[in-house]
Point group: D2
């Protein structure tokens, strides 16, 4: 296979895709156009970016396809800016080497290509790993994506893969794709804010794209732009608190998790008759799936099985499928891991008494995010810290320059929630309560202001 010139050169006329967040996505290489048209990439249209969050924020029905184009576009704009303002002159001078452009653009476009439907939950039940699958898609000779990348050069797929798994030698390239302020995060904050309709995610991308610059060890931000970077960190924190960790979405996630768990258990029972209504999922239940099997899945495929399961005889399976399809989330209260587990045990007892199998009808769900951290020598896995750069090229780490960021640094933010059927927290009507009125009364004693409550006698 010889290298393909048209993939290195610009298209004579760029193509554009209208995008509500970035106005236009500008495609300037045949390579990028071909990747977008590849089967594995088009499949991302059928996988929602935010999973169950659209059950809370109904506007947020956008797909991973849309987000991936956005990450590409931000990466492209950064490359343009670097090329114009900071071109390398001597190797190792900390400037930008524009021959890295293609590998950056491909990594940006493809960084999420291994995602499957409802990734987080699916992985939890079936032990898949979307990051590993991303690399598989890039390297497996059967995929269209691999075949297209190989036209650039035989080792190009591995180059792109190494950017994504952070082993690529040029730290500027790696940090553009994965760091605490990378093209991925910048797009998803803006995009998720746009589609949910909240303001919190809308930091000033244009300004950040003006102050970002390459230096020897990666990417830094000119000190004049400190407040724009600060604002990005705050936006990130706000989006996690307000959108990504919303209790209702997590209530739907818990429902989904329990539904798949139930299906998995049922499937293994000898008496299960309805295996045909599992078809595309069988390789996963039987723990022998191939990349080809995985690539057939999407949100609609899972929902189709849920529609079939709704009519199955197993009551729990059918009930959980209905709850998921018709959006009947479990409800929750917050709890303190250190002190409330005994009460939770007691509450689970009450729920069990009311006839609910607690394995499927209660859950603990913890969501935490680390909005930002600086580099700590003994914690290898932490991403690179954000550096600000002075006119004389001195660096200063972000949280040293910003009180606001310092307040969020190195601390997990989030909460721990105990999920139960809605009936226990929000009785729908008088007739419903009567079924388990005394249980409900007792249950209620332990709840106050949306949290597990310790009356004196419990202490």
């Amino acid at each position: 296979m010889t290298e393909n010139d048209q993939y290195h050169e610009r298209l004579p006329l760029e193509k554009v895709f209208r995008d509500p967040v970035h106005r236009y996505i500008h495609v300037q290489h045949q390579l990028i156009l071909d990747l977008i048209n590849a089967r594995e990439f088009q499949r991302l249209r059928r996988i929602k970016q935010l999973g169950t969050a659209s059950f809370t924020f109904h506007g947020a029905e956008h797909s991973r396809f849309t987000h991936s184009l956005g990450v590409y576009e931000i990466a492209r704009r950064i490359c343009d800016h670097f090329m114009r303002s900071y071109p390398t002159k001597v190797p190792g001078d900390g400037g930008w080497d524009d021959s890295e452009r293609l590998v950056v653009l491909c990594a940006a476009l493809l960084h999420d290509i291994g995602h499957g439907p409802y990734s987080h939950t699916f992985e939890h039940i079936f032990h898949t790993d979307h990051e590993k699958i991303t690399i598989d898609i890039l390297l497996s000779p059967e995929t269209e994506v691999h075949q297209i990348l190989s036209k650039v050069s035989p080792d190009f797929p591995e180059k792109v893969a190494s950017v994504i798994d952070k082993t690529y030698p040029n730290p500027q390239v790696v940090q553009l794709i994965s760091s605490q302020i990378d093209a991925d995060r910048m797009d998803y904050l803006l995009r998720d804010a746009y589609y949910t309709g909240v303001n919190y995610g809308t930091f000033d991308l244009t300004r950040i794209l003006r102050v970002i610059r390459p230096y020897k060890e990666g990417i830094a931000f000119r000190i004049q732009g400190m407040h724009a970077v600060e604002d990005y960190i705050v936006s990130r924190y706000q989006m996690y608190m307000q959108v990504y960790f919303h209790p209702v979405s997590r209530g739907m996630e818990v429902t989904l998790d329990h539904l798949l768990k139930r299906a998995n258990r049922i499937y293994d029972l000898p008496e299960t008759q309805f295996k045909h209504s599992f078809s595309l999922l069988i390789p996963f239940f039987e723990k022998r799936f191939t990349l080809e099997d995985y690539l057939k899945l999407d949100d609609g495929v899972l929902n189709t099985y849920f529609t079939l399961w709704r009519d199955e005889q197993d009551q729990i399976l059918s009930d959980l499928a209905t709850r998921f399809l018709d959006r009947k989330p479990f409800k929750s209260v917050t709890y303190q891991k250190e002190t409330d587990l005994p009460i939770i045990k007691k509450l689970q007892g009450l729920i069990q008494k009311a006839g609910y199998e607690t394995d499927y009808y209660t859950a603990l769900n913890n969501s935490y995010d680390l909005p930002y951290d600086f580099y700590r020598p003994n914690q290898k896995s932490r991403p690179a810290q954000i550096e600000l750069i002075y006119p004389d090229h001195t660096l200063i780490e972000l949280s040293e320059a910003s009180d606001l960021v310092k307040a969020l640094t190195g601390k997990q933010h989030g909460d721990e929630r105990f999920y139960v059927p809605k009936e226990f927290l929000k009785p729908h009507s008088s007739s419903e309560i009567s079924l388990f009125e005394p249980l409900y009364q007792e249950f209620t004693r332990y709840i106050k202001n949306g949290a597990i409550y310790h009356s004196d006698e419990d202490k």
Copy 2:
């Protein structure tokens, strides 16, 4: 069943849903909340508002659920405005009777509830009718929607149905839901503009909601707001021209149409083995579907069957499924019905010679819209004309007051396109062409500037 008071009264505290277009959807009645939570309504989350348009405008992945909430919200705001500014004092004085509020809100919320996946195409192949199904859902005792509506009063479902089929006696109510400037259209123009990222649909809703008013025979607009209404009509025209009739989306629609047509034909063949991979669609292929069958369908269900069909043996079925899933639309040129059909016949011959079955690989597709029309006595089906109202209550029909609207009045706008496999219009690479080079050369002779072209010798 007795009437249910809580359904008439306001909730003590309204609930809100974040919405990117209207900021918040305000729910003020338990009835509305219950309808939103009904199974048939939640199903709308799984049906895209714009069908194949998201293949052109990737941002436009929003569902009919989202749109339905928006129509409800606009209707609610209009009711509030009417109640505050134009309350009826004596029956028949042309003012607003706020006891109509509930029926308006329900009709607004539910007007699209009968839509199925890829409605237009699905109806074409399977002869379903989403308007009829909407009425069925409202009136059928099995649906949750019906059961909820019945709690207001036993005849309430029929009232709502009569608003939707325009037989309700109060013309103000009917025109809020269906007229040339109704809550439905106002929401979809704004929403589709927001999600596609084009500007064209963004007329001034706030101003229109200030100048709209009830009068004896329906809804009118104060003359001061003439330019806002004019702008709405122009927006509507622009959205049809630029978004709804986009040739690429129609190329995907043609692909889908031919795919379902092929499946339908194959299904009837005695040798077809793979009927299990049709499951939820069987009632439709066998022309004996129930409302229950219909309510199980959604975009994801259809796409799941396409994924299964992709691996079937029938080459055409498998190829068309692949083209649809991987977004390989047919391409098109415009033609003139009056003069170009002989050339199209010739071109179809060339395509057939190249080995494509023209029934499945070519299509004629015409898209036309009537942006606005005034009432013409002999054309009963036309919607009510838009009336402007002077301070002294004189009326003037919109196109009489606006040159701009007059230019769009009573004329169909759109075009006629001939669709063929992409290879005939945009050869991908030199190797591809060689397969049918002479055919391609001849084909090309008849195309110029994206249209069928008559050279002199053809005339």
Copy 3:
């Protein structure tokens, strides 16, 4: 004087100005920076872009400075786009010659530099001409602007001037600055819409900047962008109808006109004592002003004299100054020139009887705009028509391609209004009316729905 290299070369790092409409104004040449900092240009900060319109749309207080930067920025983006996509290769091939960039940018930035305070009205009373003064500023050796431009080359000021007066040989350059769709109009429509808070002006600039292209005879638009151009024309029409011709702003303009007219008359009276309170205006009253005199004027200077005149003895002068400063506009009704002049005469008689000098307390004001026109051979002064261009380079004139534009083509839009003191149209309270109750009753007989009204007896 030798040519100055730094003026031709790009700045090592561009400077930006935050702009709410275009996000950033990008300055890439020392020349542009120096022009912005020139005294004559900074003076534009003290002159409102929309004159009296901010009395109607209170948000629209932006200055000509702001607009001028915006025109520059649009011109700059078009140059970038032309340079990237349509560079000239052989002289006369219709491509873009980027050595024209500096002259385009300067003409864009400076095209309005001759404007004075409340231009339209000021010119009407004092017979100044802002277009002539623009040229004077460019060519007069005393101005900073001239001195800066001269550093590029001795004939550069004249080059820039010839672009502005449309005698520059390259039609592409001229049309970018003045045509029916030039950088000036594109900025003011967007900017005025942003600051007034109306939607009507917001056409899709990004799309227009994608489809604009140079050709041999000037500027054209790719046929794919037809609807974006159409939308621009409609926006323009809407802004004129809704904002620029708003009756209240014209009511303030009429007040201002009469105030200056009165001051002019008073100044000449031998008994006028207060000439010191005219100081900076004296050269204009005495019809012997220099460029230097003109450059000292701005909105604040005029308003300062109005504040002084408010305390003067002449009742009419003092009253009109008060009306202007405190925003007490004359009110109006529309009339038909052909038929209503006799009635207007009658109404003026009534107003005179009520004690108002009609010369200062009534006015006829006509505002008309031609939204678009194609070239008509016998009307030399019309601007170049808008051309759309096909892939094979055929041209088609805009109104031939668009029904919507055709509807607006070649027709003046606007209205004719008769202005009178507010008391005659909107009596404030019962006490006020009593002063001239019978006159008012008679006056009112001739008014209906905001227009002069012919009862039968008048015909």
Copy 4:
């Protein structure tokens, strides 16, 4: 004088003013309309909201008039929300008493009416006090504002005044107008963000207006809205850091301050001939001004005198007027009060040597803001802390609930800057430097990364 009923009742049809920030300002009482039309209120059109900030952010040319309407509108929306959701039932129950509406609306509209041109600087030089003047305008029988307010009831002007000076008995009313999160601040953050074109100020007003509620001791925010309030505090902090404290605007403020200081000194000199060119300012130079004198001033009046002074003989006066009118700001470096004063003294010496009088050509300028603080018993002047409220009515102070706010609490943010003529920090061209090259070289030794720099030898 009797009370005026129309002032308590709603207008039959509300009037609206288009507003780019809030879409519409809704006026529902004749009282409000009359106040807007009052001479003292119209005068606010001629005073910029942000003083010298438009020299940095050219888009921010909006007036105090515009902002005052916005404050009114936010207050109005809060009243509507309180009346609907939290009406008082028994006196003292902590609910909202809607008979407070008129006093709230008037206080909101008029809270800034005492502002003069370039308030901060003007007050510094002439020892005026805009808060005291606001009260004067409300209470002085000569003002139109007073006469209008008195029509409500004879004691109504004093009521409004007591809200503004925080002595009004109902703390809900006082806190709506002045607290750490009041209608005033909410409007100016949003408005200044809109007009400057920065994002930082755009917190989620709609959400805050949903979670704000009255309680016995004032105003609180429902705990669900904690993040929206947090975001408001961060926005406030960001606007101070990025916009209000921008070094360039402060450089213009310093110029203005020195210009007025010079004029003041010159005026007193016996030899000053040109007192006529001070006219409207004379009462201020002579320290004997009346309210009437004050109300004649506005930005344009001051600028007009600067235009006259530009031609005066005193070189410093003429030079500083030119610098201000033509936007030639002093430039600055940051310094540390504790350690850098000796170096500053040295630098001033160099500047003096170069021929600049340091009194007029250098300045120290410190800008600090306290983004938020909770109530500290010993610091009486601090505004009320922000309270969040749980479903069971428990309160929690904001900084206790938010890490982010805690990080900003009780700490002054800002910086200290040393201003000098631009020539010392940014030599314009080689010819310019030569005049004082050695001085400049020495000066430069003490500056690094935009701050005063201590080389070792200086320590």
